[in-house]
Symmetry: C2
């Protein structure tokens, strides 16, 4: 294990980098950085890496799935800024024994996800490495007024999420821990292997003045909500957790509470949205009309800095049990 | 060893990606990709990765040096397009035992090189990994008329390079193979550990109409010249190879010809320039006035596709002996 936790070292890194920021509108610490390549345009950029043995094993999924998943997790970061992803580059690390067909299969998966979201793969680098890794960088664009950050949520906002949570973690439990999910297995495996980035939804939220803050919850809602709350200087009260059916099945097999399982599960790539309270009902109705799926109300943001979840009518502190690659 | 060679797999990847290019001015296969974020601006983007055990060992250099070198190799790709680098992101892979101080030292090195070249580090990703890797992506900008490619060299052009070659390979020989370099050791180690990307020179060449093609020779002149010639549909005749003093010393110790040692040596990050013949003398003079160092004349580009080097008055086929991480 590393002797450091991720948020703490990122804070140090951000402080070291901040000394030479003159060009950035959004510095280190959000889902993506933003800058202006010209007066009228605002660009965003984000890097995200998948490593064999850390994020995936080849026994769990095909090379195409691995490529898809790497692209989806990057596109999710751009969507979480309210931006439209445009271009991707990839640095691919390859052990000596990887055959040509598998290298091209990683690209097939990345390209399939890129095309499904209007993104072009425009280059990168290949290197020998002791384990496979895919380090992607995605660039996107956004109207300056549509850029959404995680630091601008307000006390009193309604907190919502774009989908049920925990399905990807259920897939991981089925693959790694051989948890039996029965009729829910196919959904869980698909969620883990071929997650959908909420690209159209992110741009749609970007265009709404009532959306005060946006981020993806790729590390698990428990971790990511704590980050949003801290960045915005608010607290949060979670009242309802939308649990995926496969997550409920996995939690039952493991003897965990379904809500706790879903709160801890990362890699769902749903968007966490902080919405002006008077606008929520209308926005949720329009969201369902537009995307054919509900916008789930999670709870509210608080003026103090407590982050709590309501369990059996009582408030409990939310434990940060999400996916941290360093612990 | 991989069963594939790098240029061949890159060609397959470029073909797979080309099916969805509508946005790119320069697709896969050059030092960087280029696109237009708005009508007036042209952006370039490039990714480049350094892997422990492949590109460096920690016994050879400090963590700051490793960070510097990773940044320099990326900036060199942007310089090779005639562009100005602006922003960098980094995906950093870290084995569990890396202490916090070393993580920050990688950033110190990256930041030192970024600051020296007017670049801001704007984010990235941290992940656990079996070996250290630094996957950087740099974005830059260029006036559309100043963009330089490797595919637009013309037969009859003078071929030149911005510095003497082989010093970085001499440093590697000293560190890895314990080759004794005496008074040249310090220069060789500095070239290997703290290479300078030719950022100002790249922009300067970008502004010249007489410069027909530009690329960096990070994989060794022998490999990279073959790529430039093939991309431009020309041949090349190398008449003079500017050999770094430390490279000559290393070659003498190893019983190799100094020119062959320098041609095979990668990671010097000098720029390879193809110049209209009538403009060469004037451009070389202005280059020396501006940068205080000579522009070295290597030879000429040929109408047929031979790539040859003149040795003792005879032409010999140039062997592609450069740095290929797959062989």
């Amino acid at each position: 294990l590393l002797a450091v936790d991720e948020d703490s070292i990122v804070a140090d890194i951000a402080a070291a980098c901040a000394q030479n920021h003159t060009r950035l509108c959004v510095p280190i610490g959000d889902d993506a950085a933003a800058w202006r390549p010209s007066r009228s345009a605002l660009s965003v950029i984000s890097s995200d890496v998948l490593v064999e043995g850390v994020h995936f094993e080849h026994e769990w999924m095909s090379a195409e799935d691995i490529g898809w998943r790497a692209m989806a997790s990057n596109l999710s970061d751009i969507a979480a800024m309210g931006a439209r992803p445009l271009l991707a580059t990839v640095a691919l690390g390859l052990p000596p024994a990887v055959p040509r067909s598998r290298i091209l299969a990683y690209y097939d998966g990345m390209l399939a996800c890129a095309r499904a979201n209007g993104v072009e793969l425009c280059g990168g680098d290949l290197s020998r490495a002791p384990a496979v890794f895919l380090a992607l960088t995605v660039t996107g664009e956004v109207r300056p007024s549509n850029l959404k950050r995680r630091s601008s949520a307000r006390a009193g906002d309604i907190l919502a999420v774009t989908g049920r949570l925990g399905a990807s973690r259920a897939g991981l439990a089925a693959l790694r821990d051989r948890v039996v999910l029965g009729e829910h297995e196919a959904d869980a495996l698909a969620a883990f292997r071929r997650p959908e980035a909420r690209v159209a939804q992110g741009r749609w939220f970007g265009a709404s003045r009532s959306v005060h803050a946006l981020m993806d919850c790729s590390d698990g809602l428990a971790s990511d909500l704590a980050r949003l709350a801290r960045a915005s200087g608010v607290g949060a009260r979670i009242e309802d957790v939308p649990v995926a059916a496969s997550a409920a099945a996995a939690a039952a097999q493991l003897g965990e509470r379904p809500e706790a399982f879903a709160l801890a599960g990362g890699e769902d790539f749903e968007l966490l949205v902080s919405i002006a309270p008077r606008a929520f009902a209308h926005l949720a109705r329009r969201f369902e009309q537009r995307f054919g799926r509900p916008l789930y109300r999670l709870g509210r943001l608080l003026a103090d800095e407590r982050v709590v979840v309501v369990k059996d009518g009582n408030e409990e502190a939310l434990e940060r049990t999400g996916w941290d690659h360093f612990s």
